[in-house]
Every structure is written in structure tokens, then in C-alpha cells.
């Protein structure tokens, strides 16, 4: 550890570039959100966009790919680069390696964006074959994923160098959580890598005639569910490792925080069949096993809920909060950084309940592929994650640029609350119409089977979506104005690392050792996925030729 280590301007610029691409992606992707929401309310603006954007589905593809895949991946790799080097107090071991990873992600983004914008890849962000996109789409996604792997390798080398310099020292919590996130991501993305490299890419290039759509779904959801933990864990890094300090307190339990992160590594991947409960080609017994494993990943979520809330209560009481709930009011709600994360947590409470419902095996028959599902994941990725990232941005952008936020505190607070209110209205209405039977990914205004009685709920979808639109562009405005303003006040921001009530050095050593947990992760994966993967791969039949149906 270098005693006087400071993150250099070059490193800040490198992390800032990640943020730049993330914010550009989300500012383009979010243009389409209200178009979809308003379509549900009966106001279809897509016909007016015809010369540029051909269909609702092209808009939905852009919305999903840019927001859920690009915004998140760029923000996360940038944020975790900072938690790695700042936590370890040492520069990246091989900065050039990380730079290669980053620019590969950028090249991949551009490569995939061209066919999407040209309406040659209107396959939504799940790109289920035999719907066939242009090969550049699959190649671009591959480059984004491989680029993120390389950035992950750069973080491991940095950690390894630090570990050799600091034997026996507990890994700083934020670094630790970031590294687990990247390792889990590299295991999880093996699924989509197998899908694209063995089937979709050679097929789109004309090297093979057909695909096996069922096997493709199994590969996809091997990655698809842990993807949500890849989004979520960096928010947890902030909730555990930073929010307690921002709220004026300490982390309640260092060891349980680490234990929860290990459980996420262990349990995030071997449960993908819960996205395939109603797939015809997966035996019910395996679906049931994954249902139970999905329930078990609820445990680290509940640990997180307890530890984060306990840390907040500690902070609230220190700030003078009294009584059973008085500490909640005593929290610094006037700070947009804190308010964003508190509101993200509240929305995630509802997201968690919905998640348990989705995961509940046969209960899924009621909600599968209905509007309930996007209602649900807007509470997770677009609330717990995105709203936390917005809050993080309000110290991270000043930290990286050395300039104070270029808007008033009130404006940033208003941004956070606008997103929260819009999301409450939107997601509630989506859950309701989903339960009533409205399909997801469908322009409901064109669907002849939608009963008149749903129009009140569908109106709320449009109202909520429109409010969120304003919430998002207030965020983009704040970040852009701060980054570009020439005469902003200089900021003296430090990375907010929370202390723990308990000395991290007292955390048992087995909570800071990789090998046993990695072995356990691979073993559980082999048990939960191995037999089905062998069965589906050995019975592969590449009989589905491609279709362009948009």
C-alpha cells in the first residue's frame, strides 16, 4: 500500500470515460421509454418517427440494449475500477490492459449499434433465435462482453499485486465486493458466450444452416439471471461500503457484508431455469431445483436488507433520531446522494417481493411474459440499480472532474424524487395490467384482445413513464452541465468509504479467501446445470433456419 497514494488525473479520466459512454447510452436509450409507455396509454408516436425509427420493436430494442446492457456495463466497469484502485491504494497493475478492455467495449458498442439503428437487429435485448439479426450485432455484443472480461482481469492482477504486498490484511470491503462482482460476471457470461460463438455468430455469417432455439434459451438464461446481480452488486457495494458514511454512521457488520457477497457469488448463477419455467424443453424437476436455489439467493438479499437498514438506524440515532422510527426522519434526506439510495432501497423492497413471486415455480404461470415482468425489473435494474447510480454520480462526477455539481441541491433532490414518483406509478400499473393478462413487449394499442376496462391502468403506465422521462433528463442535464461547465466551483470530494463498527481485521480469514468459495461455486454450478447442459448439448438439433420478421 502506498501511503500517499492519490488517484491520478489519468486514472480519473479513464474512469470518467466509462461514465461518459454510460450516460450517452442511457440518454439515447431512455428516449424510447415514454414512447412505449405512451403507446400503452393510447398515444402511439412511433408512426411520426417512421423515417428514422421503423417500429415500436426497434425502439424497444434500443431501449433494452442501451439501458440494460450498455449503460450498466460501462458504469459498473468504471465504478469498480475506482473501488479497486482507491480501496487498495495502488494504481492498476497493467493500465494498458484495462485500456484495451475499455476500447474493445467501445468498438463492440459501435459495431452492435450500427445494425440496431439500421433496423437490421430488431430482436430485443434477449435476441432469441431463430429471429436472425445482422452478424455485426452478435459480434458487437461479444466484444462488449470480452472487453468487460479484460477490464476484470486488470482488476484481478491489481488485487494480486496488492495481496503480495499486503499478506494477511483484509481486502477493503468496496474492493472486495467489486472483485466478486467481476468474477461472478465472468462465470455467468460463459453462457451467452457459448450461445453466440457456437451458434448465433456462425449462423448469422452463413457458416451453419440453423440453430437450436431451446438450447439457445438455456445458454442465454445461464447469463440472463446473474446479469441482474451484475447490475445489483455494485449498488450493494455502495449501500454497504459508502452509504453508511454518507448517512453519518458506520457499517453495522463487516463480516456479514462479506458473507452476503460470497453467497451472491455462490448462488447468482445456478438458478437460470427460473426464467424458463414455461419452456417446453426443460424437465420440470430441474426447474424445481432451480426454484429452490432461487429461494436460497433470497437469504443474502435478506442479510443485505438487515445490515443496510441497521447501518442506517445507527446513523439516524447518531444524528439524534429517537423512538422506533424516528431515526428514519433523522437521516440526511436533504442530501440527494443519500436520498437517491434510500428511495432506491424502498423501490427495491417491492421489487424483491415481486421477484419472489416470479421465482415461485408454478406461480410463474400467472405472470410469465406479462407486463408484470417489465414492471418488476424496472424496480430492480431501473430503481435499485439506476437510482443508486444516479446518487453515486452526484459525488463521483465532482470527484472525477474536481468541480461541484453545477445545479442546486434542490434541483438534484427534485431529480431523485421525480424518478421515484414516476417509477411508483409506472411499475404499479405494469404489475396490475400484467396480473390481468397484458403481455409484455407488445404495443397494446394494436392488440385486439385488450379489454376496455384496462384503460385506466394503461393511462397510468403512460403518466409514470412520462414522469420518469423528465427524471432521467434532469439527471443527464446535471451530469452534463457539471462535466462541461468551465467556471464551476472547485470541489474537494473524497471517495466516501464507510468505517465498520467492527474492525475488518477481526473478520474471520475464511471470509477473505478465494479458493474455497470458487471451488464451491464451480461445484454447485456443475450440479445445478451440468446434467441438463450435457443432455441439451448432446441432443442438439440445428434445425431452425433464420427469420427476419420485422
Amino acid at each position: 500500500m502506498l501511503a500517499n497514494y492519490e488517484v491520478s488525473q489519468a486514472e480519473k479520466k479513464f474512469i470518467g470515460l466509462h461514465l461518459l459512454f454510460a450516460v450517452i447510452a442511457v440518454s439515447i436509450g431512455s428516449l424510447f421509454g415514454p414512447l412505449q409507455a405512451l403507446e400503452h396509454s393510447g398515444l402511439d408516436l412511433y408512426p411520426y418517427l417512421q423515417p428514422i425509427f421503423k417500429s415500436y420493436y426497434q425502439g424497444l430494442t434500443i431501449h433494452g440494449v442501451l439501458n440494460a446492457l450498455v449503460f450498466t456495463t460501462f458504469f459498473i466497469t468504471g465504478f469498480l475500477t475506482l473501488t479497486t484502485i482507491y480501496g487498495l491504494k495502488r494504481p492498476l497493475r497493467y493500465p494498458k490492459l484495462n485500456a484495451v478492455g475499455f476500447w474493445m467495449m467501445v468498438v463492440g458498442l459501435v459495431t452492435a449499434a450500427i445494425p440496431i439503428l439500421a433496423d437490421e437487429a430488431t430482436v430485443l435485448y434477449t435476441f432469441y433465435p431463430p429471429m436472425k439479426a445482422h452478424w455485426a450485432f452478435y459480434l458487437g455484443l461479444t466484444l462488449v462482453v470480452v472487453g468487460s472480461w479484460i477490464e476484470g482481469y486488470g482488476m484481478y492482477f491489481t488485487y494480486y499485486a496488492w495481496r503480495k504486498e499486503n499478506p494477511g490484511v483484509r481486502t477493503p470491503l468496496t474492493t472486495f465486493g467489486g472483485l466478486i462482482t467481476m468474477v461472478m460476471w465472468q462465470i455467468a457470461t460463459l453462457g451467452v458466450a457459448a450461445e453466440i460463438l457456437t451458434m448465433l455468430l456462425p449462423w448469422s455469417l452463413g457458416l451453419i444452416e440453423g440453430t437450436d432455439p431451446q438450447l439457445a434459451r438455456t445458454y442465454f438464461w445461464f447469463t440472463g439471471h446473474p446479469l441482474v446481480y451484475f447490475w445489483l452488486l455494485p449498488a450493494y457495494v455502495s449501500w454497504y461500503g459508502m452509504l453508511p458514511k454518507q448517512a453519518g454512521g458506520k457499517l453495522f457488520s463487516d463480516s456479514l457484508a462479506r458473507f452476503a457477497f460470497w453467497l451472491f457469488l455462490l448462488l447468482s448463477v445456478p438458478l437460470g431455469f427460473h426464467h424458463q419455467y414455461v419452456d417446453p424443453g426443460v424437465p420440470a424437476g430441474w426447474k424445481f431445483l432451480h426454484a429452490i436455489l432461487t429461494y436460497s439467493v433470497f437469504i443474502p438479499s435478506m442479510l443485505t436488507a438487515f445490515t443496510v437498514v441497521a447501518s442506517l438506524e445507527y446513523a439516524g440515532r447518531k444524528r439524534g433520531g429517537k423512538g422506533l422510527l424516528g431515526w428514519i426522519r433523522a437521516l440526511p434526506w436533504g442530501d440527494p446522494i443519500v436520498a437517491a439510495q434510500l428511495l432506491a432501497g424502498i423501490l427495491f423492497f417491492f421489487g424483491g417481493i415481486g421477484g419472489i413471486t416470479n421465482a415461485s415455480y408454478n406461480v410463474n404461470l400467472v405472470v410469465h411474459n406479462t407486463a408484470w415482468v417489465p414492471g418488476h425489473f424496472h424496480l430492480t435494474v431501473a430503481s435499485a440499480v439506476t437510482l443508486s447510480f444516479m446518487g453515486i454520480s452526484y459525488w463521483l462526477v465532482p470527484y472525477l472532474t474536481g468541480k461541484k455539481l453545477a445545479v442546486s441541491n434542490k434541483f438534484a433532490l427534485a431529480q431523485v424524487w421525480t424518478w421515484f414518483v414516476g417509477m411508483m406509478i409506472f411499475s404499479n400499473a405494469m404489475h396490475v395490467v400484467g396480473l390481468l393478462g397484458a403481455p409484455r413487449r407488445t404495443p397494446l394499442g394494436l392488440a385486439p384482445y385488450i379489454p376496455e376496462e384496462w384503460s385506466g391502468h394503461l393511462l397510468r403506465v403512460g403518466i409514470g413513464g412520462t414522469i420518469m422521462f423528465f427524471g432521467m433528463y434532469m439527471y443527464v442535464y446535471i451530469v452534463a452541465k457539471t462535466a462541461w461547465s468551465k467556471k464551476a466551483e472547485p470541489a474537494n470530494v473524497e471517495v466516501p468509504l464507510a468505517e465498520s463498527v467492527q474492525d475488518p481485521q477481526d473478520t474471520p480469514e475464511w471470509l477473505d479467501k478465494w479458493v474455497p468459495w470458487l471451488i464451491g461455486t464451480v461445484a454447485l454450478l456443475l450440479v445445478a446445470y451440468g446434467p441438463q447442459l450435457i443432455d441439451q448439448i448432446s441432443n442438439i438439433s440445428l434445425t431452425s433456419p433464420g427469420f427476419k420478421v420485422w
Binding site: 429471429m131 434459451r217 457488520s253 438487515f306 410469465h368 411474459n369
Partner: protein, 161 residues
């Protein structure tokens, strides 16, 4: 490991963990009983077909409803862009229908509104689910997976008389 190094768990948190596990056991029991004792089941592999020829020969060459016994039906449904064949079927109230659904092109979904029938339709696979409907009425079956430009208009109706 020194004596100080142990995983400190607050008593409140221990109870919280117990409560969480208890909740999950209750949920797991509920779905297990519903699934394995009451028969509310998710689909399992039924058969593989060749999507390139499935509409030309075999049961999906002439999709439709067949009566197996009084009050017992099987329905072969073919999904394609952007329609189900047949578009309409009629059964008497109180009868049980077993659906066999496949696709000749891209992926589709099949959700029979206001019932527990909700299944992916994947080329190469046969989706099988059964339902018994007592309440007379019109039950739409809608496509729930994006299948191209005409997706929103893809539906059919099961009439229960």
C-alpha cells in the same frame, strides 16, 4: 484464527435470518403442494419435431380440436407469424383440454387468458399443458413472445359453452 476473529451476528439479525428461512420454507411448501399434490404444473419435455416440416405432415398438418372421450379433448395448435391455427375452438363447459403446441418459424408464446395455461412455443419443441374449464365464456389465447411486426395481433379464442 485469533479469538477475536469470529463472525459476529447480532441477536436481532439471528432472528431475522430465522424468519427469512422460515418464510422461504413456507413458500417452498406452498409451491410444492400446489405443483405435486394439486397438479398445477409447469411443462416438461414432450417431443421434438422438425420445424421445417412440422406443418406438412403429422398432427400439425391439420391442427385443431379432437374429442378423445366425452368431456376430454386434445388441441393441436400451430403457431406461426402471426397467427394461431386454429383461430377458434369450441368446447362444452366442464371439459378438459390438453394442448399440444409448436411453431413452424420463430418463438411464440401461448397464454390462455384467465387460466393457468401459459407456455413458451419454441420451434423444434412441443409444448403440452392441460386445463379444465368449468365457467362458460370466451377465453382468448394470445401470443406473449415478440415474434415480429404482427405480434400484437396474434391471438385466437377458445369458446366454452
Amino acid at each position: 484464527m485469533t479469538e477475536k476473529q469470529s463472525m459476529h451476528i447480532d441477536p436481532y439479525e439471528k432472528n431475522w435470518i430465522r424468519l427469512s428461512i422460515g418464510l422461504l420454507v413456507v413458500f417452498a411448501l406452498a409451491v410444492t403442494i400446489a405443483g405435486f399434490a394439486m397438479g398445477i404444473q409447469v411443462p416438461s419435455p414432450e417431443a421434438r419435431v422438425d420445424p421445417r416440416t412440422v406443418a406438412d405432415e403429422g398432427p400439425w398438418a391439420e391442427p385443431g380440436l379432437r374429442e378423445l372421450a366425452p368431456g376430454k379433448y386434445e388441441a393441436y395448435v400451430l403457431a406461426q407469424t402471426w397467427q394461431f391455427t386454429p383461430r377458434e375452438m369450441t368446447i362444452p363447459a366442464g371439459s378438459e383440454v390438453t394442448f399440444y403446441i409448436t411453431s413452424k418459424d420463430v418463438q411464440h408464446g401461448f397464454k390462455l387468458q384467465n387460466t393457468n395455461i401459459n407456455v413458451m412455443v419454441i420451434p423444434g419443441q412441443v409444448s403440452k399443458l392441460s386445463v379444465k374449464i368449468d365457467e362458460p365464456g370466451r377465453y382468448d389465447y394470445i401470443c406473449t413472445e415478440f415474434c415480429g411486426l404482427g405480434h400484437a395481433a396474434m391471438f385466437g379464442t377458445l369458446i366454452v359453452e
